[in-house]
């Protein structure tokens, strides 16, 4: 993963702003029940998936767009979006049969993003599923994973090759009725990744999905489902980029994680969607529902996110702590600059006995951006001896930005212990100057301050990933501090 991020993320400008010229097949703009059927036809959906879509669509029609977040944007015209866009493949059907079938242009695109897919060049130690607009274009290391009994493929493939598993878990963690964007996603999702780690298996490789939006006027609605059976372990990484465009594009994904007894899922994201320009023109609307359920005893789900992109972010990776002694973690660094708006945080829902959760959130706001932490800790009467600790710190860079903290603590059991702390600090030109006068260059000074502020989150990322995430943040910060 090191190379990927190093290659792709540390450039001063938004280097992934390029557009791939490729013959693309897409649906006309607009959304209707017919369009949902067209997507189902196109994906060759089995009846249970088609039904799920239609139910979701009908429910979505009854819902209103949420307005409670500290974000504001022009209303989205859902009829002005294309709900399907895919590079034309040589074979029709359910995704690429092998990596050899991928259009060379796509291979080249992912090479440029630092994600080599071809057999010779692919990265060791990490298996990658590459998603381009609405479809998965290829997954590496599948044989090696198969040997361990691990299934890692596009959701489309999974629907066809492992329908029982998909039917058993799809929509169980994030029901289609959950919220406006989850309902929309459930109706029109096109692809995404599927991971299944069988009982007792420790996944031999880190798994990774790389999401790329390319086509104009297209929304990306991917759906990821990760199931870890009893005693299984997996570490999953996610990265995302999109071309620079003047108009906003919608990304409304759903991620569902299921951890059975003693299973552990570690989910890391480096989100670097195009965030719009200095005046706030263009950029991705990142409205994502991510949730995991600690179904079994002593299971564990850990979310780590480094959020540096998107014009507007609305995202709360959550954990339902159902199994006794299960634990949930949320580690987040969210950096906003220019006119970005991020409303992000988590929910820790304690249901089982002796469940514990930990929330470490670091928000950095620069320029005229708005950075909001919103988190809920809920202790049910059944959650004997539940424990939560939350630390939510904000750093302000410049006097034009906003940092908000909105924790919701709801405790219905007196054996629980819930603690929340929040602080505010700043990076000032004075601090940078002081360090410079002690011989530290600007880069070093910003890096020192950033490290100090975010160390609790960085140390939870896979090592190489963390080094590169820091570089990405430093790069974004430097422009704002100077």
């Amino acid at each position: 993963m090191a190379e990927i991020v190093k290659e792709s993320l540390t450039d001063r400008d938004y280097k992934y702003g390029f557009e791939t010229q490729i013959e693309t097949e897409f649906f006309p703009k607009g959304l209707s029940e017919d369009v949902v059927h067209m997507i189902a036809d196109k994906r060759n959906d089995p009846p249970f998936v088609r039904e799920f879509r239609i139910k979701a669509y009908r429910h979505w029609l009854t819902m209103k767009e949420p307005t409670w977040a500290d974000v504001s944007y022009a209303p989205i015209d859902f009829q002005e979006i294309r709900y399907y866009s895919a590079p034309k493949s040589k074979k029709e059907g359910s995704g690429p049969a092998s990596l050899d079938d991928i259009d060379p242009e796509l291979i080249e695109t992912f090479n440029k993003l630092g994600i080599p897919l071809s057999e010779q060049k692919r990265l060791t130690g990490v298996a990658i599923d590459a998603v381009f607009d609405s479809v998965s274009v290829g997954t590496t290391h599948q044989e090696e994973l198969a040997e361990a009994g691990v299934i890692f493929c596009s959701l489309t493939e999974a629907i066809h090759n492992h329908p029982d598993l998909v039917e058993k878990y799809l929509g169980t963690v994030v029901p289609y009725k959950d919220n406006y964007y989850a309902a929309l996603n459930s109706a029109v999702f096109t692809d995404g990744s599927f991971v299944f780690i069988p009982k007792g298996v420790r996944c031999p490789l880190d798994l990774s999905t790389y999401f790329r939006i390319n086509a104009r006027e297209t929304g990306q609605f991917e759906r990821t489902l990760i199931v870890a059976e009893e005693g299984a372990y997996v570490s999953y990484l996610e990265g995302c980029t999109a071309p620079m465009r003047d108009e906003n594009q919608l990304h409304a994904a759903v991620v569902e994680l299921v951890a059975l007894d003693r299973a552990e899922i570690k989910y890391s994201t480096v989100q670097n969607w195009y965030a719009g320009d200095k005046e706030g023109k263009g950029g991705i609307y990142n409205f994502v529902t991510k949730r995991g359920i600690c179904q079994g005893v002593k299971s564990k789900i850990s979310w780590t996110q480094v959020e540096t992109g998107s014009a507007v972010t609305w995202k709360y990776p959550s954990v339902i702590l159902k199994g006794d002694y299960s634990s949930g973690e949320f580690y987040s660094v969210a950096l906003t600059n220019n006119r970005m708006q991020a409303d992000t945080g988590t929910k820790m829902i304690h249901i089982g006995k002796n469940t514990s959760s930990r929330i470490i959130s670091k928000g950095i706001s620069c320029d005229q951006s708005i950075n909001t932490y919103r988190g809920q800790v809920k202790i049910f009467p059944s959650a004997e001896n539940a424990r939560n600790f939350s630390q939510c710190d904000s750093m302000l860079v410049g006097d034009q930005c906003t940092a908000n903290t909105h924790p919701y603590l709801e405790v219905k059991n007196n054996s629980a212990l819930v603690e929340h702390e929040a602080t505010t600090s700043k990076i000032s030109a004075d601090q940078i100057f002081y360090m410079k006068s002690r011989g530290i260059d600007e880069e070093g000074a910003v890096s020192l301050l950033l490290h100090g502020f975010c160390k609790d989150v960085f140390k939870t990322l896979p090592l190489e990933f963390s080094i590169e995430a820091v570089k990405l943040l430093e790069m974004k910060l430097e422009g704002s501090v100077g």
Partner: protein, 446 residues
């Protein structure tokens, strides 16, 4: 029906009031109507409304309290008289309201004159529009119960101190809900102006005659602090079984200091909104509170501190002890606006759950638009720390006594922070009373 139950019934009560009040100036009528209409424009909020997420008004609405009555205040029986006298703080200046109507006999009207006292009716006849604008647009005045108060309030008081007037005797405002069947919901409005260099301490108590009858008090207390003014405001709600809603607002000028404490030790359902706004630099606000709840009591504090200018300080600590099936809500918001550099704002809430069925919902919030500030908040919810309990036990103290000691210590921790000595001892007594009752009924804390 002229009750607080539906929008139509509120309208009806308003119409009834409009016809039964004689001699009211048009300006005054319009001032009242405007705030009432804006408060009820969205109807009576449900728990789907973010500001009412954890507090349902259903129990209050179900009581169908009468909003308006033109009947004169009933004659006081000797029991009420004795109760009032037993509750008065020694050596204070008194202002006593019975079911929302000023009682001249129990109040110290002569001394009040020196505090620039006028009745609300006298104040309302003032035609100075900009003077009224200030009171009508203070922070928190757009709230539901502020509007209901302004619309239907029958009596109240204005106190305008003189510049540099140092008042050494505390002002004790006592509200009594008799639970009298004919009485309307008790509403009073208090306007207190502490101008430049002046100093005043205000104690405001809400009590009730009997626990068995129902009752609702809806208070509105507004403060205006001039430059270097120093004002202490200590409110105690001890009306078991009664409903209470309150709006408290304070606007702070340069270098002023506002110390406030809200103690709730008995109320069926209480919703207390406190709004503080800094309008000039170097002012300080100490915003503390303690709620002690039992049975099915529900206590909700919503505080908003608005730092609009820099170089001001806020220290906020709210604590709660909850027994039985009681429930408490703490929603504290601190705004630090763009120009409020060098602000210091600290907010903490700590809650002790003594029973399995008690519930706390805390929402401590910061909204920061300035970068050179010191701001933090913290929240803790849990039961008695087992290590503290063990420490006391290992010093020979029995479990039950140790629990009681730790609970009391938990409460005193916030009371003892009060700067004002008399406030400290008065509030301490109320806390003691609550604990005495807790011990006598066997307590749920063992």
């Amino acid at each position: 029906m002229t009750t607080f139950s539906t929008l139509q019934s509120i309208e009806k009560a308003w119409a009834e009031r409009s016809t039964s009040v004689a001699g009211e100036s048009r300006q005054s009528f319009e001032r009242r109507e405007r705030l009432l209409r804006s408060a009820i424009k969205d109807g009576i909020p449900t728990t789907r409304h973010e500001e009412w997420k954890y507090t349902s008004l259903r129990p209050l609405v179900d009581q169908s309290f009468r909003l308006w009555s033109s009947l004169p205040s009933p004659a006081l029986d000797s029991a009420v008289d004795a109760l009032v006298k037993s509750k008065l703080i020694p050596d204070a200046t008194y202002l006593v309201f019975i079911d929302g109507i000023l009682n001249a006999r129990l109040s110290s009207l002569e001394e009040l004159t020196s505090l620039g006292f006028r009745t609300l009716a006298e104040a309302e006849s003032t035609n100075d529009a900009s003077w009224w604008d200030f009171w009508q647009t203070s922070p928190g005045m757009n709230g539901l119960f502020a509007g209901i108060n302004v619309g239907f309030v029958r009596d109240g008081a204005l106190l305008e101190l003189k510049k540099n007037q140092i008042v050494s005797r505390p002002l004790h405002i006592l509200h009594v809900v008799t639970g009298h069947a004919d009485a309307a919901a008790s509403a009073t409005r208090l306007l207190i102006s502490v101008p430049e260099g002046a100093r005043l301490r205000v104690f405001e108590d809400f009590i009730s005659v009997s626990e068995s009858s129902s009752g609702w008090s809806n208070g509105l207390t507004q403060f205006k602090l001039g430059p270097r003014a120093d004002c202490g405001y200590y409110r105690v709600l001890s009306s078991p079984g009664k409903f209470h809603t309150a709006t408290i607002s304070a606007v702070l000028d340069r270098g002023s200091r506002f110390e406030t404490f809200s103690l709730v030790a008995g109320s069926r359902l209480a919703r207390i909104n406190i709004d503080v706004k800094f309008t000039a630099t170097d002012a300080e606000c100490i915003l503390n509170g303690l709620y002690l709840t039992r049975d099915q009591e529900h206590v909700d504090h919503h505080t908003v501190v608005d730092h609009q200018v820099g170089f001001c300080r806020t220290h906020q600590l709210y604590k709660g002890i909850l027994a039985d099936e009681s429930r408490a809500v703490f929603n504290g918001k601190i705004y630090i606006r763009k120009d409020a550099q060098k602000t210091e704002a600290y907010q903490t809430t700590k809650n002790l759950l003594l029973s399995k069925n008690a519930e706390v919902d805390a929402k401590p919030q910061l909204e920061i638009d300035a970068d050179d500030v010191k701001a933090s908040h913290g929240a803790a919810i849990g039961s008695i720390d087992p290590l503290e309990l063990f420490y006391l036990q290992s010093r020979c103290i029995g479990r039950a006594e140790a629990m009681a000691m730790l609970c009391r210590g938990f409460a005193d921790d916030v009371v003892l922070r009060l700067q004002d000595k008399s406030a400290k001892s008065i509030l301490s007594k109320h806390v003691s009373q609550w604990f005495k009752h807790e011990v006598s009924r066997g307590g749920s804390n063992t």
